[in-house]
Symmetry: C2
Subunit: 244 residues, 2 copies
């Protein structure tokens, strides 16, 4: 048996056209190129992307599974139009997935995975100091993902990944959210406190901290979304906060 050499980095598979198309469409939707409810015509997209229909269709199917586009038989694909209830679902699902992961991770927290959390947190600081708002969202996602990964649970991780795409879509739809109201360093600070609570391994304190953290993120987002909204919206939102 040869001497141990540590793990070689996995060779990265060349991406298929379907993968490339998926990320391209993903970015376009999140950037607002295609608006919610807009129909995505296959032939048009093929022409834009310079590929043929089979890989494009596959990309659209992948996206429909992540929930950011909607496929109706014989009627094609549309960009998902979010209702208030959808926002409610996405926010609660995210929070509950984190709760779930931490419940499962708690008895005997994996030190290795905890180091990954710390590393993800460290990567947030320079981004925040550079004032890179988009970068901080991505870095924040990586941190939350590292927390999810504490559970060593591929299915939860996968659910979280696809869910977070919908969350990004939410935020892209009202992308004035977090603009000039978010203190970037404060954001990182909040994540740092989260990690500090996690290492205590005290389930109740952790759940409370994550609830508070979620509210700090979502309250602002939802308030912005509802600015100048009807009483109906405000009422819904109040109900949402009350119940959770």
């Amino acid at each position: 048996m040869p001497p141990h050499r540590g793990h070689l980095p996995q060779v990265e598979q060349p991406a298929s056209l379907a993968e490339l198309a998926r990320t391209a469409i993903e970015r376009a939707i999140l950037a607002g190129t295609y608006l919610p409810g807009e129909r995505l015509v296959e032939e048009r997209l093929c022409e834009h992307l310079g590929i043929s229909r089979p890989p494009l269709r596959e990309a659209l199917r992948q996206l429909s599974f992540t929930g950011i586009v909607e496929h109706t038989p014989r009627k094609g694909v549309r960009v998902m139009a979010m209702t208030q209830h959808d926002v409610y679902e996405i926010l609660t699902f995210r929070r509950e997935l984190e709760r779930m992961a931490l419940r499962l991770a708690l008895p005997g927290l994996d030190p290795g995975r905890l180091d990954e959390c710390r590393a993800a947190l460290e990567r947030m600081w320079p981004v925040a100091e550079a004032g890179d708002e988009g970068g901080l969202v991505a870095a924040g996602f990586e941190f939350h993902l590292s927390v999810i990964r504490l559970a060593h649970h591929k299915r939860i991780e996968q659910a979280f990944r696809s869910m977070s795409l919908q969350l990004q879509l939410c935020m892209a739809m009202n992308n004035r959210v977090r603009r000039d109201v978010e203190d970037l360093k404060g954001n990182v600070q909040r994540h740092e406190e989260l990690l500090a609570v996690i290492v205590t391994e005290d389930r109740d304190r952790i759940e409370a901290a994550f609830d508070a953290h979620g509210n700090a993120t979502f309250v602002r987002a939802s308030l912005d979304e509802l600015e100048g909204g009807s009483n109906q919206s405000a009422k819904w939102f109040a109900g949402f906060l009350d119940r959770h």
Copy 2:
């Protein structure tokens, strides 16, 4: 405005070949026609099913998202081979999704949805009395789904649906499980008690009941899987029970 006529039943869309292929392959896998780890060659399946490759590929993609087949770029599709850790993940994910749904459903249980639970439960009795084991599994799934639906949460429902396919695959792999050890009427009884606890709207009691219910199902399943197993397996399983 015309007089209210209630809701017409949705016209059922004619299924596409991809959908038909998906359910056909699904059934074949669950029936054990294709074994875990076995490679699914596209052209072979096309010939068997009498369709061409595009709809078949789409079906395989759908199945890979539900997690019962595994797709590797340029290497094709294999039936998912379950490890002990996969079983652990599926069982815990299922339980946590139910917990999640009930948490969200609890403040103000929807009476209409609760009626659906009762209806699903009623449908279990005749199936159990007929001794139809496979039918009872399906009916039980419908009951659990109706419980999930209490939350009015499409994303949780979708996660539960695809997860339960994996659960069925688990059980199909050791399909001696639940054979001659399951008291069918006792099974329905257990579900009836579950519903009785739900209507109390007491979160702690509900969670305890579902934990117990899950264990009653899974302990037997996992013990059967591990019958005559190594110490390693027993140790893993003991750890699983301890942690949850």
